[in-house]
């Protein structure tokens, strides 16, 4: 994810005063995380794209109400996630998480086997991914935001429309259920 070279606070200040170029830079810096958050919440690439696009326009129009000095990303993610929630599809139509270049990480017939550790590593990832997919949307969203996307508690709270304390407790419970899906005991 690229970060703006100009300090973000300056860009936000300029954007609040109507500088469209500054706002474009802000969006470019955060569009990956915004789109992925929308995808985690809505469960659909098409819905995530619509949600993020709509959210960026709404955020631009709402910049006058943005509290000066506040962090920009949680504010933006809250708008994005709200749009994504409005477009959330039924669980049956949700797109699944997949691993990048999965085919390359598995030995094909006739190909040299990768080291055993790497195979175990890949198998562990597949197992983990499958366990995540079996979780409820609520559990998967909170673990996805906190640990797949690396959002902080405050950002996750903003994105999921929860209180910070709820994010903490829900994350903890989701981890317990993920361990259960993996057939593991709590540490």
């Amino acid at each position: 994810m690229s970060r703006p070279l100009i300090p973000e606070a300056d860009l936000v200040d300029r954007a609040r005063r109507g500088d469209g170029d500054a706002y474009d830079q802000l969006v470019r810096a955060h569009q990956d995380i915004a789109f992925r958050t929308a995808w985690l919440v809505s469960g659909s690439s098409a819905d995530a794209e619509d949600a993020a696009q709509e959210a960026f326009v709404k955020a631009w129009r709402a910049l006058g109400r943005f509290r000066q000095g506040a962090p920009f990303r949680p504010w933006l993610l809250a708008i994005v996630a709200n749009e994504a929630r409005n477009r959330r599809r039924s669980a049956g139509r949700r797109e699944a998480l997949v691993l990048r270049a999965a085919a390359q990480r598995r030995p094909s017939d006739g190909a040299a086997s990768p080291p055993e550790a790497a195979v175990l590593h890949a198998e562990r990832r597949d197992t983990l991914l499958a366990a995540l997919e079996r979780l409820s949307d609520e559990d998967r969203a909170v673990l996805g935001c906190r640990h797949l996307l690396g959002l902080g508690e405050e950002e996750t709270a903003a994105a999921l429309g929860l209180r910070r304390g709820t994010v903490k407790s829900r994350t903890s419970r989701a981890l317990v259920r993920l361990r259960a899906e993996l057939g593991e005991e709590a540490p």
Binding site: R17, G18, D19, G20, D21, Y23, D24, V27, Q31, D32, F35, R36, W39, S45, A48, E49, D50, A52, Q53, E54, F56, V57, A59, W60, R61, R87, E95, L97, V98, L99, R100, A101, A102, R124, R125, L128, L129, L143, H147, L148, L149, G150, L175, L178, R179, L182, E184, P187
Partner: protein, 215 residues
Amino acid sequence: MSDLIRELELLGAEVQWPPTPTFAPRAAAAAPAPARRRRAPRRLVLAIVLGALLLAAGALAATGVIHFGGATIKRVDTLPPVDPAPTLALGTPIRLSEAHGILPFTLPSRLADPDAVYMRDDSVNLLYLREGKPRAVLTVFREGSGFLDKLVHTSTAVKRVRVQGAPGLYVAGVHIVDFIYGGTPRLSQPTLLWTKGGLTYRLEARDALALASAG
């Protein structure tokens, strides 16, 4: 940090996220979703109707031409090239008292004391400086003179506002002044237009709303 959390974080780096699309952050919203088959709840319909009414009251259509006082604002998809180094050709310097004799304008309190006053083509230009540099330019001209054309991108917000009780329009973003006294189009700062007493006022400044609203 537990091993499981660490594993999830590693997994996040290996997940094949859908490719991020290209966004137009300030463009009109994406096409609406296809209509759902089930009937919308009455409350939702009411909200949409109220929303549309509020929109009509505050924001102006995203396309077309807006006529306001002596100004015409045209929305375009592509803005033309502009003069990279425009000069403020404001006209002949005159005294403020002389300007009042040409046009019967009134000034908001924060604009009551211009640093310089000019006359050009039956319009009056008032220049306001900050640390020796132009901070704001207020142009006053008669309504219906067809004096000013502005080009704004379709994504630029143009809102109806009130300026000390008078009807106004606020063009929030940087846009293009296509024609004012002729010459090459130039980029304009956020601009506030309002009409009062048969005159059109055009205030170009980053803080135009605040300057015109006080007093």
